[in-house]
């Protein structure tokens, strides 16, 4: 059987996809619960100065940026295959890859601008 050679880009894309899935599954529910439910409902009232200090800390920013980047890369991989297989558009793989990974990159830059 003739086969293509080992694909390091697929390996990289999949690792980032998995990492994105794991960190999103771990962190996003916590963030949603805090900022979407507990804070607005007043069930947990953080002191403003304390919250500002936590959010202003460089480590928090790095973690949040990492979360945004990996979550976007997770989306990029999923959406790429949704277009490839779900909509049978594999012949358009070049523009699709540009859209997905370009979108993830643009989103990451935007996240960095918002955070820093």
């Amino acid at each position: 059987m003739t086969m293509a050679k080992r694909s390091s880009s697929e390996a990289m894309a999949w690792l980032l996809f998995s990492a994105g899935g794991v960190v999103s599954a771990l962190l996003v529910p916590v963030l949603l619960l805090l900022s979407g439910v507990l804070f607005p409902l007043g069930l947990l009232v953080p002191e403003h100065a304390h919250l500002a200090a936590v959010l202003g800390h460089p480590l928090t920013k790095v973690v949040l940026l990492g979360l945004c980047m990996l979550a976007l890369l997770h989306w990029a991989h999923r959406f790429r295959y949704t277009l490839y297989d779900g909509l049978r558009l594999k012949r358009l793989s070049v523009p699709i890859n540009l859209l997905c990974y370009g979108g993830a990159l643009a989103g990451s830059v935007w996240a960095a601008i918002v955070l820093f």
Binding site: M1, S8, W14, L15, S18
Partner: protein, 247 residues
């Protein structure tokens, strides 16, 4: 319970028909009869021209896979009464070309199977006196599940990726590669890597999981592929980042 059931069987004789047709047969509905027994009743009593494959009648040979009411199953392990009162639709396995009636062309699978080297690969050729390899129960458990595969190809019929991409190595072949990769006696994992870590290998899989639902032997090919993706990704990146430590 009625004492008969109708089977709607796909017929296709490439020499005579332009396209597949459906033919109805009424067969006895007996509690101990599998779908395959219904087909054999047709073959013996009603219509000797119907073609289908079978051999063991006990879920071992893997040759009786067909599409029953839309799902890929072993017809010797699927009972008529499960579908009563019927009718039951019986078609050839999906994703394979039809040779005749319910018989499919499996050449593609037979080509892919040996490509993953499904045997114990050793770097050293041992002498006859040294060929006894001992294995602990824990080492056996590492791969035993994957060794249950009977090559029935139900997983290929169930896989939507294989339907779109015939070059995809496919669930059973990858699970079988893992069966040997995870065997403590095998030394061929790096040889299989070159085939498995490609766009037609594990990277084609999008983890739909239909293969695992279809498998009659509990092999879990989707799990095998998913697990191998991590191996493939780390090995591939290591050889990119550290070419001197290649393999």
């Amino acid at each position: 319970m009625p004492d008969t059931i109708t089977l709607q069987v796909a017929r296709y004789r490439p020499d005579a028909d332009a396209a597949p047709t459906t033919q109805e047969y009424v067969v006895p509905l007996r509690e101990e009869w599998a779908v395959l027994d219904g087909l054999n009743y047709i073959k013996d009593r009603l219509d000797g021209t119907l073609s289908f494959r079978w051999s063991c009648r006990m879920g071992i040979c893997g040759s009786c896979g067909m599409t029953v009411n839309g799902n890929p199953v072993l017809t010797c392990g699927t009972f008529l009464t499960d579908y009563a009162p019927g009718p039951i639709r019986i078609e050839p396995l999906a994703n394979f070309p039809v040779v005749r009636d319910l018989v499919v062309e499996i050449e593609d699978f037979l080509r892919k199977l040996p490509a993953v080297k499904p045997w114990l690969v050793r770097e050293d050729e041992q002498g006859v006196d040294d060929v006894e390899f001992l294995q602990t129960p824990a080492q056996l458990a590492e791969y035993q599940q994957y060794s249950m595969c009977i090559n029935c190809m139900l997983c290929y019929a169930a896989c939507p990726v294989y339907a779109l991409e015939p070059d995809f190595l496919g669930p059973a072949a990858i699970a079988l590669a893992q069966r040997y990769n995870l065997d403590s006696r095998d030394q061929g994992a790096h040889q299989r890597l070159d085939l498995l870590a490609t766009a037609q290998g594990v990277w084609a899989c999008t983890y739909v999981g239909e293969c695992t639902s279809a498998c009659p032997k509990g092999v879990d090919p989707a799990g095998a592929i998913q697990r191998y993706k991590l191996t493939a990704a780390t090995r591939t990146l290591r050889s990119v980042l550290m070419p001197w430590a290649a393999r």
